[in-house]
């Protein structure tokens, strides 16, 4: 009987903890300045026990943040032991290897106290628009060129903001106001969450969080393990070819299901690139476990307990385990393909449950203007905006793939009206790339096509660091066709073939078509004619059509 009460109270506390981190994420969304955070939702928030183990996360943002942040807090505690922290301290870093994979993501950690006793931590992450260096491009050949590096430091100490650190950050950024605003947003959301946690523990007459944490971690670990134990045992392999930067890339994975978990080994994967598309191991781990979880146990809460059932190995200095000082800015190009590779491994043992390949990594295109762009006049208005372009998801065994929907990222698009309000850029179009989804019993999701011009008679630059699948389409599954490959070109005809930064001359336009998702199952003739979104019943758009 009292067991039951205890069981219920624990469940209530667990729910309550999730509500606290949801609120934490919400505060960040509302206080952030950067559009990639406030409009697209590129952020994450979570709560940790006193050992730095993640207990709960907000169901927002991206797995790339959440699952890397799961290990990031423990790294902070190596530098700043828990006992040394005081109320009002806030820790920060953008270390790609100890944080979330590139210098743009700032992780903050705030210790939570109840009556002067440390009860746990809150961490949050968001993507800052600019941290100096070369900007959001992949041309750098070392992390030193990619921007300002902030080792584990204190952003605030006992409630006092570290003005020196903020001044250095702002002094090194092309968008100092946004950088400062976003950092304050991170600080603010952690602060609100610590207050809520203390109030919650007081209400239940509890003095600490760790025993609840132990229950959460153990229940989740056991649940995840049971889900794994329901799978057939064995090792399965998959491979995927990608365009890469200087040379095509081969990703290889061997996934082993055993009695005590799932292990993925990336042996045989290409060596690290000279350029910034390398995925640090923490980021590789994050997307690998995300892919496994989607297939094996989507309903089990994501925390240090369930994550502990999955392990990953990779050769040092391969593209999925680059070592400092490899450049890593566009690390998601590789990292966000890994769930697709994991799906490939599951195809044989779990036939009929695994979707086709999709566009995978989303395109984060940095668009910049100003006097420093080649060919620009001294009067050119400076701007730095990000356009997020999204391809199609792979078809599911029973459903079409979702069109222009990010996967595995949880980030969304930035409204055209918002981007245009921040810059002289004008979108001629942003709509479905008709016919880009792979055919099949279930059709792959459609990619988008966008066309952008500068309304000022000035050139602008576009960073194609994250453009992928120009040569290697998303493959279909179970007989389904491949999605259409991506293309990036100027309206005047020139094709932009690589991951470099290109200049769109004054008066010309950028046209980018995102890849479509792969189809599922062999298409019958009827199925091909059926896709309503691809029907040609209506008049064609009046804007200029695709120029190959």
């Amino acid at each position: 009987m009292h067991d039951m009460q205890e069981q219920l109270v624990r469940q209530i506390l667990w729910n309550r903890l999730i509500a606290v981190v949801e609120e934490q994420a919400n505060v960040l969304l509302k206080t952030a300045f950067g559009t990639i955070t406030r409009e697209a939702g590129d952020l994450s928030a979570g709560v940790y026990d006193t050992q730095g183990r993640m207990l709960a996360q907000a169901v927002t943002g991206t797995p790339g943040h959440v699952n890397t942040m799961a290990t990031a807090v423990a790294h902070f505690l190596e530098r700043y032991p828990a006992a040394s922290l005081k109320p009002g301290d806030v820790l920060v870093t953008n270390d790609p290897w100890l944080g979330t994979g590139h210098l743009f993501d700032f992780v903050t950690v705030t210790p939570a106290f109840l009556d002067a006793r440390l009860i746990g931590f809150f961490a949050s992450t968001c993507h800052l628009i600019d941290v100096g260096g070369r900007g959001f491009v992949a041309e750098a050949t070392s992390v030193y060129e990619e921007g300002l590096y902030i080792p584990h430091l204190k952003l605030a100490e006992q409630g006092r903001l570290n003005d020196t650190l903020l001044a250095i950050l702002m002094g090194n950024s092309r968008e100092p106001t946004q950088v400062r605003g976003d950092l304050l947003g991170l600080l603010s959301c952690n602060e609100v969450a610590t207050r809520r946690l203390a109030a919650m523990l007081r209400e239940f007459g509890l003095a600490e969080l760790d025993s609840l944490g132990e229950h959460i971690l153990e229940t989740s670990r056991r649940g995840m393990l049971e889900a794994v134990q329901r799978l057939p045992r064995g090792t399965w392999r998959a491979a995927m070819q990608l365009d890469g930067y200087e040379a095509p890339i081969e990703l290889r994975a061997a996934l082993t299901v055993s009695g005590d978990g799932i292990h993925v080994d990336y042996a045989g994967t290409s060596a690290a690139s000279r350029f910034g598309i390398n995925s640090p191991k923490c980021y590789t781990d994050a997307y690998t476990s995300f892919g496994i979880k989607c297939i094996v146990a989507p309903d089990i809460p994501n925390n240090a307990g369930s994550l502990s059932v999955m392990t990953v190995s990779a050769a040092e200095d391969s593209i999925v385990h680059p070592l400092r000082p490899r450049p890593v800015t566009a690390r998601h190009v590789i990292g966000q393909m890994l769930p697709e590779l994991v799906f490939g491994c599951f195809e044989e043992p779990l036939a009929g449950r695994v979707p086709a390949e999709g566009a995978g990594s989303m395109w984060v295109m940095g668009l910049s203007g100003g006097p420093l762009v080649a060919g620009a006049s001294a009067k050119a208005a400076p701007f730095n905006v990000i356009s997020i372009a999204i391809g199609g998801m792979g078809a599911r065994p029973d459903k079409d793939g979702l069109s222009t929907t990010a996967f595995p990222s949880g980030v969304g698009a930035i409204p055209v009206e918002i981007t245009e309000a921040q810059s002289p850029l004008l979108f001629r179009r942003r709509e479905f790339a008709q016919g880009s989804g792979g055919e099949g019993l279930q059709r792959g999701g459609l990619g988008a096509v966008i066309e952008i011009e500068n309304t000022d008679a000035e050139p602008f630059s576009v960073a194609c660091a994250t453009v992928e699948r120009r040569n290697h389409p998303a493959r279909g599954r179970a007989g389904g066709g491949a999605g259409r490959v991506a293309r990036v070109a100027l309206a005047s005809g020139k094709v932009l073939p690589g991951k470099e930064t290109y200049v769109v001359p004054a008066g010309d336009r950028l046209i980018a078509e995102m890849p479509g998702g792969g189809g599922y199952g062999k298409a019958s003739t009827a199925a091909i004619c059926d896709g309503s979104s691809q029907s040609a019943a209506a008049p064609a758009p009046a804007s200029s059509s695709w120029v190959p």
Partner: protein
């Protein structure tokens, strides 16, 4: 003398009708008739007139709210609608936010757009973010589109162009051309229905409006005829989602503003009681068959918002519906009602809702084919609901079936008996509501502990005291006729209309004169709408501005003073904004400039100041219980014998100490141990705990 006032609230399951006249109130609850909703409503009106011994000629006004527009969107039963939009942006409606609202579920679905691609027509034109014409409207192309629309036999057309919030000239011109070419086709302009930045949300709102327009126009026409036949020749007003009444004419233009009118009525009732009882901070709690609605009321006014999500398509998850931006009463609505289904998840944790057994098949205890235990079943098992007296005794409940279902589906795997499993369901549904209320409180900068709860709707009085305790609240008020609260609220609503315009100003360009001109024009427009429905009445005008730090994407509304603005008001508004920001986010961002973005004007008839404070209740008398009921008590783990009272027998001034039950025809109030109850002079039940 036509002085009786009539209200009708058509809900998903029941249609509630209330008549008030000369200080008396009569209520009827009848089943909703989805095919012709006016039939159920007429039946309810006939019933209430009979019990009140009045005729149609005695009725001076009829106020109506309906879920018809909402249901049309949920069931995709609206008009064949076309969408004319800026060339290059044909798919905005279908691309949506381009994100997944659930991370791990590979099977999730996105809402299908209200207008399919073949009915989305691009036209060459372009306005920039600064409101300048970049490409003139291709009027000839529009004529061709009109021909295609005629051929496609569309019943409604929405027009949505990029940046129309900044300059709607092209939308208006396109509207003129289409109206001339397509007589009889309903037309909606995005800037008229939602003049705000972010194309997907604005276009979605415009299409939702167009989509329900013909249906609502037909329904309102039929209703007018039916009322005429019944001899009801009084004025008819409609309840809006924003909590104000509007005329038939405005309802036909902006039917999307009628969504969620029932819950808005409930919030008005709470606001009204709050004013009468001089309660400055109230949490309004409305729990029906499918959902629970929680809304904060400060100083007698419900919180307002401009964003709502309708017709969720996947597991009722937030993010799986269509966004609609119209003035709405700010509330959180969660899948927690009497019909919410309880299940165990993969880890053996009890989950309640959002799936609902609805009216068909309904809870297991209804014996209409339901197999999964619901919140109502749990309450029957626990002994809180009298199986023989449910819904006024019209529906006998099967307690044994409820016990079996609770035991099989929940208790078995957890090794709990039916009582404990039912207690678990009750706890979890209450905890779900508490956690939604907590998040909502933070979002709105409210402190639940300081509020009095006002609880109504069929299921609320059973859970109100426990929910209040979870939220740290000490006072709960269960109003008279709690089960038809929304319809009563309709009778207390002011005639009102709200307008919003985007007009962005940076801090250093604050231009009081231009803002004053804008606000005056908006006030005139809104006053004309309201005066049409309330000729000669005194009107109240309230203005507000949405502000943010330059570079942010989320705004906070700041009320404007009740006079023309002066240049120095810019600084005062900045200070008011920063104070609100700090209250919500715990931080003052001092050195970033602020922006003034959208300006809103709400015109309404004066809200009644409320009755004078009720006379002190007479001396306490100890009423006699009607009987006793065996109710399971989780604190002791035992069944306890609780006195059960009949509400009609409790006179003002009556006092009870918990634990006890107070039953009335459509609901039961649970008074837990440690709580005491007093019947107020106005007849409400006031539950308090130390």
């Amino acid at each position: 003398m036509r002085r009786a006032r009539l209200a009708a609230d058509i809900g998903g399951t029941f249609t509630d009708v209330v008549l008030e006249d000369a200080g008396q109130r009569f209520a009827a609850k009848v089943l909703t008739t989805p095919r012709a909703p006016e039939d159920g409503m007429l039946e309810g009106i006939a019933q209430v007139l009979r019990s009140a011994e009045r005729t149609a000629g005695d009725v001076g006004v009829l106020i109506h709210g309906t879920t018809l527009a909402t249901n049309a969107l949920i069931e995709r039963a609206g008009a064949r609608t076309a969408f004319v939009t800026t060339a290059g942006f044909r798919d905005v409606l279908e691309m949506g936010y381009e994100k997944r609202y659930e991370h791990y579920d590979l099977n999730l679905e996105l809402p299908a757009p209200l207008v399919p691609r073949e009915l989305r027509f691009p036209v060459a034109e372009r306005i920039t973010a600064r409101g300048e014409v970049h490409l003139p409207l291709a009027e000839d192309a529009l004529l061709q589109i009109a021909a295609s629309l005629r051929q496609a036999q569309v019943e409604a057309v929405a027009v949505g162009f990029l940046h129309a919030y900044a300059n709607d000239a092209h939308e208006r011109r396109a509207g003129e051309i289409l109206a001339a070419q397509l007589p009889g086709v309903a037309l909606t302009l995005s800037a008229a229905v939602c003049p705000e930045i972010r194309e997907y949300e604005r276009f979605s709102t415009a299409c939702a409006n167009a989509y329900v327009q013909p249906l609502m126009a037909r329904y309102l026409g039929r209703l007018a005829e039916a009322l005429e036949r019944l001899g009801l020749r009084c004025p008819l007003y409609l309840m809006t989602s924003g909590g104000g009444l509007t005329t038939l004419e405005t309802a036909r233009r902006f039917p999307v503003r009628l969504i969620e009118s029932g819950p808005a009525g409930g919030a008005i009732l709470s606001a009204c009681i709050a004013r009468d009882a001089r309660l400055s901070e109230v949490l309004s709690f409305d729990m029906g068959g499918t959902t629970a609605k929680i809304c904060f009321i400060g100083h007698g006014r419900p919180e307002q918002s401009r964003k709502f999500e309708v017709a969720r398509v996947w597991r009722n998850l937030k993010g799986s519906g269509l966004p609609v931006r119209v003035p709405v009463t700010e509330m959180v609505e969660i899948g927690a009602g009497g019909g919410s289904i309880a299940r165990l998840d993969a880890l053996g944790r009890i989950r309640v809702g959002p799936q609902s057994a609805g009216a068909e098949p309904g809870p297991v205890c209804y014996r209409r084919g339901g197999a999964e235990p619901t919140v109502t079943d749990a309450n029957v098992v626990l002994g809180r609901i009298d199986p023989g007296a449910f819904a006024g005794g019209t529906l006998a409940l099967d307690r044994h079936a409820a016990e079996r279902a609770v035991l099989e589906r929940i208790g078995g795997r957890l090794k709990l008996d039916a009582n404990w499993a039912a207690a678990g369901i009750g706890e979890i549904v209450e905890e779900n509501m508490a956690s939604a209320a907590r998040v909502h409180a933070i979002e709105r900068g409210k402190v639940a502990e300081r509020c009095t709860m006002i609880a109504f709707g069929g299921a609320a009085p059973l859970h109100a005291a426990n929910l209040a305790a979870k939220l740290g609240m000490t006072q709960v008020l269960v109003p008279l006729d709690a089960s038809v609260g929304s319809a009563i609220g309709f009778l207390r609503a002011p005639m009102a209309f709200e307008l919003v315009r985007s007009f962005a100003l940076s801090e250093d360009r604050f231009d009081a004169a231009r803002v004053n001109r804008l606000l005056e024009a908006m006030a005139r427009e809104a006053q004309a709408v309201v005066a049409a429905g309330a000729p000669g009445e005194a009107l109240e005008t309230r203005c507000a501005v949405e502000m943010r730090h330059a570079g942010q994407g989320h705004e906070i509304a700041v009320p404007l003073p009740d006079r023309a603005l002066a240049p120095e008001d810019g600084a005062a508004l900045r200070e008011a904004y920063q104070a609100r920001y700090e209250e919500q986010f715990g931080l003052r961002v001092a050195d970033v400039p602020v922006e003034y973005l959208s300006w809103s004007v709400t015109v309404s008839t004066a809200v009644s100041a409320g009755d004078p404070p009720p006379a002190p209740a007479p001396e306490s008398r100890a009423p006699a219980p009607r009987g006793r009921r065996e109710v399971f008590d989780a604190a002791s783990g035992k069944k306890a014998s609780l006195p059960a009272y009949w509400r009609a027998e409790l006179a003002p001034g009556a006092r009870l100490a918990g634990p006890a039950l107070v039953a009335e025809p459509q609901t039961t109030t649970l008074l837990p141990a440690g709580w005491s109850l007093e019947v107020t002079a106005a007849g409400h039940l006031l539950l308090t705990r130390p």
